[in-house]
């Protein structure tokens, strides 16, 4: 019967698909493990750095360091968007792109000029298609982003901020809450949001002096915020991919069950029909 052969072919094809999605799920799971380890490994540095910076920070410093300047009015803002280089991870990339677009619309609505800096092939492709201008297009940052990646990504933007060409920098990336929950998230990267704690530096022997330490730590602080975001984003991507591939595998299972049932029914109907024909034939002979 023609129908049952078609069903059989589809069963084969869905089985192949399920095989592939299951493999991708397993790959994502093992990459997720490594990526999560990196997220946890990056935290002690970030925490310790934030503590030292806030110990040295005082609101009066903003005149001294261009990186701490607080523009009274934001005329031009940069949006740094981090996405994945690869797809097949559910809504991961499109959620991030949507978040960035909403942010840009919101800023433009307030009369702020915007500029886009992008890391990740998916967002680059999207904004190129939309004819949107991009100042940074990075597609070379892989699954295991390094500190050098973060530095080379953020350095030009930081320089532009220090020169006063832009007044604010927003970072759009995924927050890695857990492997299941990776919501897109917007952070204020610059100006640095210093919490003016009581300067603990007074009781310290500071060598050579607080200014010179801050001068070096502030850029590192900004870079590290980007590094943390890159690492979290990489982990979030794998988490999103694992969930997407898991549901694709489960879904393929459901489809297979349905198709197998259809096939068996068709086969049974065929056999029944053949028997009926034989019985009918022999009855006609008597």
């Amino acid at each position: 019967m023609a129908g049952s052969r078609d069903v059989k072919r589809r069963i084969k094809s869905v089985e192949n698909t399920r095989q592939i999605t299951r493999t991708m799920e397993l790959v994502a799971t093992s990459k997720l493990k490594r990526a999560t380890d990196r997220v946890h490994a990056a935290r002690p540095y970030a925490d310790a750095l934030a503590e030292i910076v806030s110990g040295l920070y005082s609101p009066g410093l903003s005149e001294q360091y261009p990186i701490l300047r607080r523009p009274a009015e934001v005329k031009r803002a940069a949006v740094l968007l981090l996405t994945a280089n690869r797809g097949l991870c559910g809504g991961f990339n499109s959620n991030l792109i949507k978040q960035a677009r909403n942010l840009m619309e919101h800023l433009r609505g307030q009369g702020v000029e915007t500029e886009l800096h992008i890391a990740g092939k998916k967002a680059v492709a999207y904004f190129r298609f939309r004819g949107e201008e991009m100042m940074t297009k990075r597609v070379d940052i892989g699954d295991l982003p390094s500190v050098d990646d973060a530095e080379s990504l953020v350095a030009p933007i930081r320089d532009r901020f220090e020169r006063g060409e832009i007044d604010a920098v927003y970072l759009v990336s995924s927050k890695f809450v857990s492997a299941m929950s990776t919501p897109p998230h917007t952070r204020d990267l610059l100006p640095i949001q210093g919490d003016a704690k009581a300067a603990a530096a007074d009781s310290f022997i500071v060598s050579p002096n607080g200014d010179m330490i801050l001068e070096r730590l502030l850029p590192a602080y900004v870079r590290n915020a980007v590094y943390t975001a890159l690492v979290e984003n990489a982990a979030a991507e794998q988490g999103a991919r694992r969930s997407a591939m898991k549901s694709a595998t489960d879904n393929a299972g459901d489809v297979l069950e349905h198709l197998t049932r259809t096939y068996n029914r068709a086969r049974q109907a065929q056999i029944t029909q053949e028997i009926a024909e034989i019985v009918g034939g022999s009855a006609a002979l008597e």
């Binding site: 490994a41 310790a48 030292i52 500190v147 500071v206 002096n209 070096r216 590192a220």
Partner: protein
Amino acid sequence: MASLNVRVVSPERIVFQGEASAVVAPAWDGQVGILPGHAPLLALVGVGELSVDRPGGGSASFQVAGGVLKVERDTVTVLTEYAGDEPPAEIPASAIVDPEDVEG
């Protein structure tokens, strides 16, 4: 005997964490030795070898470059831009301090 609680952290990982009887670290202007009971200190880190003497004898050492070193209540935290067994291929800009720039 009092001992130091030492943590050496690079942006990517914790390089070393543990007890120590003494630490010799490369500050921007030369080696600093730190023993238990050291006054609170915050110093820039230069390029060189960081060595940690373990309380039971023996020591561990790393090459570090750049960053900052903090000593407070017998806790030594070294935040460094680079840490590894080999000297860095490239010296981070933050590890270089021109003595001319230092006032006083």
